[in-house]
Every structure is written in structure tokens, then in C-alpha cells.
């Protein structure tokens, strides 16, 4: 499973929260790739997830293309409070989908903990490409459902 997105959107935090149930406010930029593993139990299936947390890039065209090979599912993460992280989202997603045609894809907005009441709905309403799900790695809101949702799509796809 690939975790993609621009620099600083919270990919590593999301993985740390999901795998280790940890969060840190200190920011360390991921270099290259980090790999984590977690077992997910769906209704009657155990899935071993190997998660590739790819270093953030301004464009996915800058990501080493060989990282895309063999992926069975993608989470594209952006920061809901930073428009820069989703301004070119259409192009980015089109590029990734072209590289990995037919692979299940979930668009997720992170850092919902930084928004006030009603702000989330307003922001999502005005987006050209709406996220499939929203979450907060910091407050552990909706983190596991993101991965579970992708697992279900990967299972159907397989």
C-alpha cells in the first residue's frame, strides 16, 4: 500500500498513529521511503499490510517511479488547512492513476483537528476534487477507517 502526498501533509504521522498508535508534534521530513507493517482484520479475512510511506514531493512525477511498481492500493493524503497541498490534486491523481491503472485509490484530507466547527464542510464544498474521507492523525479521528476502507477496496479488486 502506497501513501502519497506533498511534503508535510502528515503521511508519516498517519502511519505512526495507525501502526504504533503514536503521534509527535516534532516534524522530521521522511527521506526516501519508510516501510511499516500492520495486520488488518476484516470480517473474515486477515490482511497483512505493508505500507510504503513515500517521502513527500511537490509533484508525484518526482517520486522514484519504481516505488509505484507492485502497489495494490494507494492513499493520497493532503492537508485540509493548506491549499497548496491540494491545488494541483487533479493532475497529481491523474498521473498516479495513469501509472497504476485499476489500483484502488482513496483520497484523504488530514489535520481536521485544526478546523473549527463548520469549517470542514465549507472547505470540502469548495473543493474541485472532494476527499473520500477526512481524518486527524493527531487526535486519532477516523485513522483506522481510512486504512480499513482501502483494504476493503483492495480485497474487492483482487
Amino acid at each position: 500500500m502506497l501513501l502519497l502526498g506533498r511534503l508535510g501533509v502528515g503521511k508519516t504521522s498517519l502511519v505512526n498513529r495507525f501502526v504504533h498508535n503514536r503521534f509527535s508534534d516534532t516534524y522530521f521530513s521522511t527521506i526516501g521511503v519508510r516501510i511499516e507493517k500492520k495486520q488488518v482484520v476484516l470480517t473474515d479475512v486477515n490482511m497483512n499490510l505493508v505500507i510504503w510511506d513515500i517521502a513527500g514531493e511537490s509533484s508525484q512525477r518526482n517520486t522514484p517511479q519504481s516505488y509505484f511498481l507492485g502497489a495494490h492500493g494507494i492513499i493520497y493524503l493532503f492537508d485540509i488547512t493548506s491549499a497548496v497541498t491540494y491545488e494541483n490534486i487533479e493532475e497529481e491523481i491523474a498521473f498516479v492513476k495513469q501509472k497504476l491503472a485499476g489500483v484502488p485509490f482513496v483520497i484523504v484530507a488530514n489535520k481536521t483537528d485544526l478546523l473549527g466547527p463548520g469549517e470542514l464542510e465549507l472547505l470540502v464544498k469548495n473543493m474541485k476534487v472532494k476527499p473520500d474521507m477526512t481524518c486527524s492523525a493527531k487526535n486519532n479521528i477516523n485513522v483506522e477507517p481510512v486504512f480499513v476502507e482501502l483494504c476493503k477496496l483492495m480485497l474487492i479488486n483482487s
Binding site: 526516501g32 521511503v33 516501510i35 511499516e36 507493517k37 497483512n48 505493508v50 510504503w52 522514484p64 517511479q65 519504481s66 516505488y67 511498481l69 507492485g70 502497489a71 495494490h72
Partner: protein, 277 residues
């Protein structure tokens, strides 16, 4: 009176219809013969077999001509679909043949050189070797490798691209094998991309007394964790063993179907093949 007329009519009928009667009898005879030939399987087979055999012989001789385009398309399609399996099957064999030839040539050359050196410089050679041993140059690595023979501690069989672990064998419990497998493929991919070496593959990751040796194949990678000092002989042996393993055990590994059953089976074969000695 009527009898006479009737008889005369019958006679007349017989005379007039004589030819028709003969014709119908002959047709009936023909039909019976045909029935016998067509409906009796043995007789029918005798008639048909000759022509069928001729046709079959013609097909055999000219099969290539008649079905050239269909055969070509079918073979191309099969090769296209089985490209990975074909390459996986051929790669070890071709590699082995080339290595065997090169090794044999190098052995002959080495023998000739050794003979020459021993005949001309034998005493000096020993002095040099001892000096080299104390000063730590190449000759010492030969001696050290004899003292610290390389041993395989762990083996990983990994799917290229995804980095999924197909199987693993280990002399001791290690950490998370799936993460190790994934990271190894990620490192390979990173190095190959960063240094624009798409046509070359990562071969070794070297620590002080521990080496990760990587054997690359079309759809799979075998990685060995080796303790000890590695020499050329050992590298060659690893390569040959990997080629043998791939050709013997991985023909049925369809790289999309990694499940726990396959992992167990492959892990057992890896342990048996590489760690049992």
C-alpha cells in the same frame, strides 16, 4: 371372360413395365450396396480412411504453411503472456552456461600463472605473502577468509516491485521479515533511480563483518545475509545455487498469488536448499 381379360392385362403390364421393373430392381440393388457401405462402420471406414489419411499426411507435411499465421499469432501471444516465466526459466540456464565457460577459462589461466610464478619465484612468493599478511594487503584477505569462512545466516525471496515477501529462511529469529523485504526492494529501487542505473541492479550491501548479497531475477529477488569474509568462490557458488533454486522451485510462483500457504512452502524449500549444509 373377365379372367382372360385380367390375365391379358397382367401380361401386357409385365411386357410394358419390364424395363421399369428391371430399372427399379437395379436401383434397389444399388441402394442396398450403398446402405451396406455407408451404414456399416467398417465398410464406411475403409472407404473414407484412405482419403482421410491422405489429407492428414498433407496437413502434417504442410502444417506450417497452412496455419503459419495462426501459429505465429498463438506463439506470440503465449510468449507475451508468459514472458516472465520464460525469462525466469532461461535466465539461470544461460547465466550458468556463461559462468561455467568463463570459470573454466579463468581456472586454466590461473593454473598457468600459478605454475609460472611457482617455478620462477617460489621463495620470493612466500616472503611476499608473509609480508602482505602483516601489512594487510590482498593476500591477507585470502588467509582471513580461510579463517573466517562465509556462512549464510538468512535468505529472503522477495517479489520485485511490491517488495512482498514470498518466503524466508533464517538460522535465528529476526525482526519483521516483511518490513526487511520491503525495505530491501525500496533501497534497490531508490539506488537504481537515484543513480540512473535502471539497467543495473544492486548486488551487495556491505557491513563490517556482515554482507547482504542480492541476486536479481526478472520478477523476484533473492537476498542472502552472510557472515564472514566473502571471496570470489563464495560469490560464484551463491550465484549458481540461486540459479538452481529459481529454476527448481519457483516455476509455480505466480507472483500475484502470495498467500500464507505459498510462503510456508517456499520458506521450507529455502531452508532446505540454502541453510541445511
Amino acid at each position: 371372360m373377365f379372367d382372360e381379360k385380367g390375365q391379358a392385362l397382367e401380361t401386357l403390364k409385365a411386357i410394358i413395365l419390364e424395363d421399369d421393373r428391371k430399372l427399379s430392381e437395379s436401383i434397389e440393388r444399388e441402394i442396398n450396396v450403398l446402405k451396406d457401405e455407408l451404414l456399416e462402420p467398417e465398410n464406411f471406414a475403409k472407404k473414407v480412411d484412405v482419403h482421410a489419411d491422405k489429407k492428414i499426411d498433407d496437413l502434417k507435411k504442410n502444417f506450417g504453411t497452412y496455419f503459419k499465421s495462426e501459429l505465429k499469432a498463438s506463439i506470440q501471444n503465449e510468449l507475451k503472456n508468459s514472458q516472465d516465466e520464460v525469462i525466469n526459466a532461461l535466465y539461470p540456464i544461460i547465466g550458468k552456461l556463461i559462468k561455467k565457460y568463463i570459470r573454466s577459462e579463468i581456472e586454466m589461466l590461473t593454473e598457468q600463472i600459478d605454475k609460472q610464478i611457482n617455478n620462477t619465484f617460489s621463495f620470493d612468493l612466500w616472503v611476499r605473502r608473509i609480508k602482505a599478511y602483516f601489512s594487510g594487503t590482498d593476500s591477507s584477505s585470502i588467509i582471513l577468509s580461510e579463517l573466517n569462512k562465509p556462512t549464510i545466516e538468512e535468505v529472503f525471496l522477495i517479489q520485485n516491485g511490491s517488495g512482498l515477501l514470498i518466503g524466508n529462511a533464517s538460522k535465528q529469529e529476526i525482526g519483521d521479515k516483511d518490513v526487511v523485504a520491503g525495505m530491501l526492494i525500496a533501497i534497490k529501487a531508490f539506488v537504481e533511480d537515484a543513480f540512473s542505473k535502471q539497467h543495473e541492479s544492486l548486488a551487495t550491501i556491505q557491513y563490517e563483518s556482515f554482507t547482504l548479497m542480492v541476486q536479481n531475477y526478472q520478477t523476484m529477488t533473492i537476498a542472502f545475509a552472510v557472515n564472514g569474509v566473502i571471496n570470489a568462490d563464495f560469490k560464484q557458488s551463491i550465484q549458481e545455487q540461486s540459479d538452481d533454486y529459481i529454476s527448481q522451485y519457483t516455476a509455480k510462483v505466480h507472483t500475484a498469488d502470495i498467500n500464507s500457504e505459498l510462503q510456508q512452502s517456499i520458506s521450507k524449500s529455502l531452508a532446505k536448499f540454502f541453510l541445511s549444509s
